[in-house]
Symmetry: C2
Subunit: 236 residues, 2 copies
DNA sequence: CGCTAATTTGAGTGACTTCAAGCACAGTGG
DNA sequence: CCACTGTGCTTGAAGTCACTCAAATTAGCG
């Protein structure tokens, strides 16, 4: 089921293919085989950097397992987390397409396996397969729409509202386990870097949410107690 | 030079073609002719709405002249201006591609002429012309990159820094005339809706900039006196 | 090796400061 | 004359600073 190449076990694209949002779902079997054959694959531990803002990248990555955060570094080094990538998501493709330097840094949050695919392969696929091109374009448009929403939120909502919204977003992206606990573990600082606020503010607001019986906290585990309540606070 | 159709003078795409960032530059002459023939064209006065957030649009628009603002409506109706569109820019294509409702409203800021092109035409072009598909994808990626930058700025910079940055952005987008005056006329409220702040704050900060000899104000005309100074304030 | 000691990292609190929003009102000019 | 601009004043949300405490890592050492 899994081939061995470069003294390393490389997962087949087929595995990711199960993921419903998989970008390669419109490829012909031959095209997928090509991608599968050409790609490299590496394991990264939490904290590892996949690529860094401002560096040139000649290919893109597809997340096979684990979680990666994408962030920009603002003034005095403060991170602004733009999005997360999980199984089936691709990262770095923007830089390949627009032929620009990477505009974000991507760092592993949960131990991850990523496949690396040459930029040329992507360009070729776009030229050969219009359905794939459409798929990719829709992905970009979706991300663009989300970015625009986020701009509006961050410009107009309070920190409190935004934190509630981020919790809901995390719930949608990473789901809850059977105990309603968010299936992603972030530090308070990382949460702050998503919301765009100070770490202390996140800590204070989380305690407020806890006192208001909206959530429950055990370390980094966040249990959602009152989803409608959070939605109300988030204004959505 | 200009044909008459529907009792209305329709400018040829050739005119826009001169614009260097024109999206259609990779079309074959026949494809361009097709677009040119199929398109509709309308004149809009300042204040007119081209399309509205949440509405379905089945095609997209190409700005032939004038200026259009694209904004989202946030809580209690406050506008958040996402971007402007001027000659050669296309708007609404995102919704066509992702087959979603419009996520912004677009309203005319300076009397404008816009061409309307069917969504199908766009899809066909993408399928027939990979170079055009690449071009469009690069446009989307560029917008996405800018949106991500903006998220970081708005989350981390002060209103003062952001206002300076917006002035620089306006300068790059709409240029200065021979007297260093910004070639776009916005109300203080519109500026505030770009920066993501209150109108009063913009007014106060503009006066500060004026006192610091960075700019000069005559009504809505903004004259740039000290570009490096503004860049310094904007942190870039 | 195993068991403290030492250091680092993250969570949490309180006091203080400041930036910017909001309100009310006064011009002003197209 | 109404929409826009401009100003003063007040208040509150959120950032900053300074610190404690707990947990987790790493180092040290018999």
């Amino acid at each position: 089921m899994v081939g061995i190449k470069n003294n390393q076990s490389i997962p087949s694209c087929e595995e990711c293919h199960a993921t419903d949002h998989m970008i390669f779902k419109d490829l012909t079997p031959e095209q997928l085989d090509n991608v599968n054959y050409d790609k490299g694959c590496s394991f990264y531990k939490r904290g590892n950097i996949i690529f860094q803002e401002g560096h040139r990248i000649n290919g893109f990555y597809c997340v096979h397992s684990g979680i990666v955060k994408m962030y920009k570094t603002g003034i005095d080094g403060k991170e602004q987390i733009i999005r997360f990538a999980k199984k089936g998501d691709i990262i770095g493709y923007r830089s390949v397409l627009s032929n620009e330097l990477a505009c974000t840094t991507s760092r592993v949050i949960e131990d991850a396996t990523l496949c690396y695919i040459q930029g040329d392969t992507l360009i070729t696929l776009i030229k050969e397969n219009p359905a794939f091109a459409m798929q990719l374009m829709q992905l970009t448009c979706k991300e663009l729409g989300e970015a625009n929403n986020y701009i509006t939120d961050i410009a107009q909502k309070t920190v409190r509202e935004r934190l509630a919204e981020i919790l809901l977003l995390l719930k949608d992206t990473f789901d809850l386990d059977e105990n309603q606990v968010l299936q992603i573990s972030l530090t308070r600082e990382e949460l702050a870097n998503m919301v765009g606020t100070a770490t202390e503010s996140v800590i204070r607001l989380l305690s407020e949410f806890k006192q208001d019986k909206l959530i429950e906290l055990q370390g980094r585990k966040i249990k959602i107690l009152n989803l409608p309540g959070l939605k109300k606070i988030a204004n959505f």
